[in-house]
């Protein structure tokens, strides 16, 4: 039930028109192709964009890491210079390294906040610039101090912190520094002692370096994180500390160098990592993938607009194309509809593509042929009707009746009553067959009787100036024929054949079946006629018979052909002074009621067979 409802619904909305079907098909196919191409190109573009971003980020990071490493290397060199060139060569029990330290500090003070040397007990040996130690500060508890003594072979870079060593009553400033510390071997009058050399680098230098990298007006940013997941620099450091912004720091600090795609807080990003030597810090570049789309919102609307435009253009273009293709078909269809509606003088549309034109032309031919055949049928029916009418009219030919009645009166007056009775009975029989209850199709037997009646009357009239003989095969009598076909031929045989012959005229009526067909012959030994005349006998229909039925051979011939087909009818042979044979060729249609009714209604000989 549900399926049927669904099918009905689909049927309802499914287009019936060929134009719309083609339009929709073209549009859908074009759109699918475009979509496929668009998606493929988009994928390619996106993949290429990502690769470009990754490559450019990698290059940027490499450059920046080089810069940071250069800076850190420089700081190491300063520390090395202080340690190897000054401290190691000094006896701290006697010498003061303050001036050397100050010199080194002054030479690099743009990048340094302070220089300081402490003993392993946390006692300040020397510092630059000169400053007073803060009270209550326990140097030995600070991480840079502990790291230096913990791993004495290395130089240690701390994370950024506010310097908490010295105080200056005239200055209310604090400095963010990155401490570079190392264990130092101190010489006190030959006694070695451990100490820690501290170089506090101005964090501002690193910050400015990375701020410049982050200056571009895009969503991409670069930040620096220690190997333990502590931020060295981040453009949104404050926001992270306050909890307003979140960064995937822990994960990034554990990445090896390379490019990664990740999703963090619902945002897809490309992350590229590069490690800074000496420190274990990682420089991380983060590019949100949405920044590849260069303005997501307007791009989205742009894409919708372009897509809609494309579909609209497709529809318009396809409509033009389908109109061109289906237009002639529609015109053809319209012209056929007009023709169906019976509009007169409508011609089938012939035009369009070769196939449509051919279709139209063929249809027009067919319509013309149908029209011609219909006209032929109408004409045939008309002729049939006229012939039947003529034949009917012959039934009441006044001359024949007048002459026959005249003969009867003469017989009665002459007391030839038996002859008169004979004449009257023959006449009655003749008229009975003529009428045949209004039927046009009668058995051949009845037609022969009609002929015999006629000949009997005529022989009396003509005082037996000619003889009449019949040779009728009995089986033939049961077959059907159109009525009033033998009598006109006999009439002709009398008036054009044997009348006024000096010798005895002979008329023979034969009826036989041969090769499944019926043949009725009327043969006379009369004057005959030349072949030229014979030719025109069945075509010259202006010659009406004056002496008998008035129907004529042409009428008989036409009626037979109209009823039974062109292959049937009359055949005439004649020789002057020899005589004439008129042969009636009929189909052998059995005398059943069914056949009779069919023939009456106009069905031909072939239908019966």
């Amino acid at each position: 039930m549900e399926t049927r409802k669904l099918k009905d619904a689909v049927k309802k909305i499914y287009p019936r028109s060929i134009q719309v079907t083609i339009l929709i098909s073209f549009t859908v196919v074009s759109f699918v192709c475009m979509l496929f191409l668009g998606v493929a190109m988009y994928q390619r573009f996106e993949s290429r964009s990502r690769q470009m971003v990754t490559d450019s980020s990698t290059r940027l990071l490499n450059q920046t890491v080089s810069g940071i490493e250069d800076y850190l290397r420089n700081m190491r060199r300063i520390s090395d210079a202080m340690y190897y060139d000054v401290i190691k060569d000094s006896d701290l029990s006697e010498e003061n390294i303050g001036s050397e330290m100050s010199l080194l500090y002054e030479a690099n003070k743009d990048n340094l906040i302070s220089f300081a040397l402490f003993t392993d007990a946390g006692k300040l040996v020397s510092a630059a610039p000169i400053a007073v130690e803060k009270e209550g500060v326990h140097v030995t508890e600070q991480s840079w101090f502990l790291d230096a003594l913990d791993r004495m072979d290395n130089l240690h870079f701390s994370v950024p912190h506010v310097q908490n060593l010295f105080t200056d009553d005239t200055d209310y400033r604090y400095h963010w520094v990155i401490s570079l510390s190392r264990a130092a071997e101190l010489n006190y009058g030959g006694t070695p002692r451990q100490g820690v050399l501290l170089l506090d680098m101005n964090y501002n230098t690193i910050e400015q370096m990375l701020k410049e990298v982050n200056n571009a007006n895009s969503d991409q940013y670069v930040y620096l994180v220690s190997g333990t997941g502590q931020i060295i620099y981040h453009p949104k450091k404050q926001q992270i500390d306050t909890g307003i912004f979140h960064e995937n720091i822990t994960t990034h600090s554990m990445y090896d160098d390379g490019a990664y795609e990740e999703s963090f807080e619902g945002e897809n990003r490309i992350v590229v990592v590069d490690t800074v030597s000496y420190t274990g810090w990682k420089l991380v570049s983060v590019t949100p993938i949405k920044s590849l789309y260069l303005g997501l919102t307007s791009t989205r609307y742009f894409a919708i607009m372009i897509l809609s435009l494309a579909i609209l253009a497709l529809i318009i273009m396809n409509r033009l194309v389908t109109k061109r293709v289906t237009g002639p078909l529609l015109k053809l269809n319209e012209s056929i509809k007009k023709m169906e509606a019976g509009s007169p003088d409508t011609r089938i549309y012939i035009g369009g593509s070769y196939e449509v034109e051919h279709l139209g032309r063929t249809l027009q031919k067919a319509m013309d042929e149908i029209s011609r055949l219909m006209k032929d049928i109408v004409t045939q029916q008309e002729e049939k009707r006229k012939s039947e009418l003529d034949a009917l009219q012959s039934q009441i030919n006044p001359h024949f009746l007048y002459n026959t009645l005249d003969s009867i009166v003469w017989m009665i007056e002459g007391d030839h009553n038996k002859d008169a009775v004979f004449m009257i009975t023959q006449l009655a029989s003749l008229f009975r067959v003529s009428l045949s209850k209004g039927r046009t199709i009668i058995p051949i037997g009845d037609e022969i009787r009609h002929a015999e009646n006629y000949m009997n009357i005529q022989m009396v009239r003509f005082k037996n100036s000619f003889s009449f003989k019949t040779e009728i095969e009995p089986e033939v009598k049961e077959y059907l024929t159109v009525k009033l076909i033998i009598q006109p031929i006999l009439e002709n045989a009398i008036y054009y054949g044997v009348k006024n012959m000096e010798d005895e005229g002979k008329i023979v009526l034969r009826a036989y079946k041969h090769k499944g067909e019926i043949f009725i012959e009327v043969k006379d030994n009369g004057y005959g006629m030349p072949k030229e005349k014979v030719k025109y006998l069945l075509t010259d229909d202006t010659r009406a018979s004056k002496n008998g039925s008035g129907v004529g051979l042409i009428n008989v011939h036409k009626r037979i052909q109209l009823r039974f087909g062109q292959e049937y009818g009359l055949h005439i042979e004649s020789e002057p002074d020899e005589g004439t044979i008129v042969m009636i060729h009929l189909p052998a249609i059995e005398g059943t009621e069914e056949n009779r009714i069919r023939l009456e209604n106009g069905g031909g000989e072939n239908e019966e067979r």
Partner: protein
């Protein structure tokens, strides 16, 4: 056939509609990318105490595509001065105003008028406005009452055994300002019943040091409480010259006062998260500009208690030292 034609016409009309709408939306989104102008009107914006607030506001402006301008307004003496400056900034094209109200009393009309012309955000202190103007502005501030209580708690912590009969001097501001009234109330509520004596209160106006010095010298107290950063600085400076060293407690955030804490001149300081106040106030007004029908919401920010022992711990140094020197 007719049905097909109607369907096709319908589809074409729909497509044309979609094209028109998306073109309009695309053009609109370009306008939406425009940068907003936000004017910040506070007293003495160049003062050190606004450093963290400024940093927060500027960062938010950068994140939210807004230009944050701090208006030079050192001459704000009363509400009408403040209104004049605000009107001028709105006339200059400011899309939003962030301001600390000069007074909290009788501000309904002004709030109503301003909020009809631009988005309004109050910071640090609220207005005592009636119900008619609720929803027309929002406030981002610390809980001033709790700050007062926190100051009181710090005093009690350090004098658990000997709080009774301690004498206290209070440096305050105009009690018509919500922040001072609430902090004062919080302080008094926390010390109630503890046997302390409020010996004097000095209202600081334009850094009137003389009256404070006089009060300190003439009426020595065990504890001085300053209810704002300026008062705290004045207290530290004034006691530097005095013959005795009272303990100083109060609210503040400037580097100068941090330095005083570091040097032991200030015993304990309550530091609200001014960075967050600056940041969130800008975010709040930008949200309102983008979503005009969404009501603005107040926000209460945290504070920390800072003293000499904990200034330089990892979390506090990030909190206190927002500007790199």
């Amino acid at each position: 056939m007719k049905k097909d034609r109607y369907t096709l016409t319908g589809i074409v009309v729909l497509l044309v509609g979609i094209i028109a709408i998306s073109a309009y939306a695309m053009i609109r989104s370009n306008y939406d990318d425009d940068v907003y102008k936000i004017a910040v009107i506070v007293e003495n914006p160049g003062d050190d105490k606004w450093a963290s607030f400024k940093a927060g506001a500027q960062d938010a402006g950068s994140d939210k595509r807004a230009v944050v301008e701090f208006i030079n307004s050192s001459d704000i003496s009363d509400i009408s001065d403040q209104k004049t400056i605000i009107d001028k900034e709105i006339a200059n094209g400011a899309d939003a105003i962030i301001t600390e109200p000069v007074t909290s009393v009788g501000t309904e009309d002004i709030i109503r008028e301003i909020s009809n012309k631009a988005v309004l955000e109050l910071v640090c202190s609220n207005a005592e406005a009636d119900i008619d103007v609720e929803g027309k502005y929002a406030v981002t501030m610390p809980d001033n009452y709790q700050i007062g209580r926190a100051i009181g708690s710090e005093i009690l912590i350090r004098h658990t055994d000997d709080i009774k009969n301690k004498t206290i001097g209070i440096i305050t501001g105009d009690q018509d300002r919500e922040k001072f009234s609430q902090r004062y109330k919080g302080l008094i509520d926390s010390l109630e019943g503890k046997g302390v004596k409020i010996v004097w209160q000095v209202l600081i106006d334009d850094e009137d040091e003389a009256s404070l010095t006089e009060a300190i010298q003439n009426n020595p107290v065990d504890v001085i409480v300053a209810l704002d950063d300026e008062g705290l600085t004045l207290a530290a400076r004034a006691t530097a010259e005095s013959s005795y060293l009272p303990e100083i407690y109060g609210e503040g955030n400037s580097v100068r006062n941090i330095c005083y804490v570091d040097r032991g001149k200030i015993t304990s300081m309550i530091v609200p998260d001014y960075f967050r106040i600056g940041y969130q106030s800008v975010v709040s007004v930008v949200e309102k500009i983008n979503h005009k029908l969404t009501p603005m919401e107040d926000e209460i920010v945290d504070y920390r208690v800072i003293n000499r022992e904990n200034i330089f711990n990892e979390k506090n140094q990030k909190y206190l030292f927002t500007n790199v020197e």
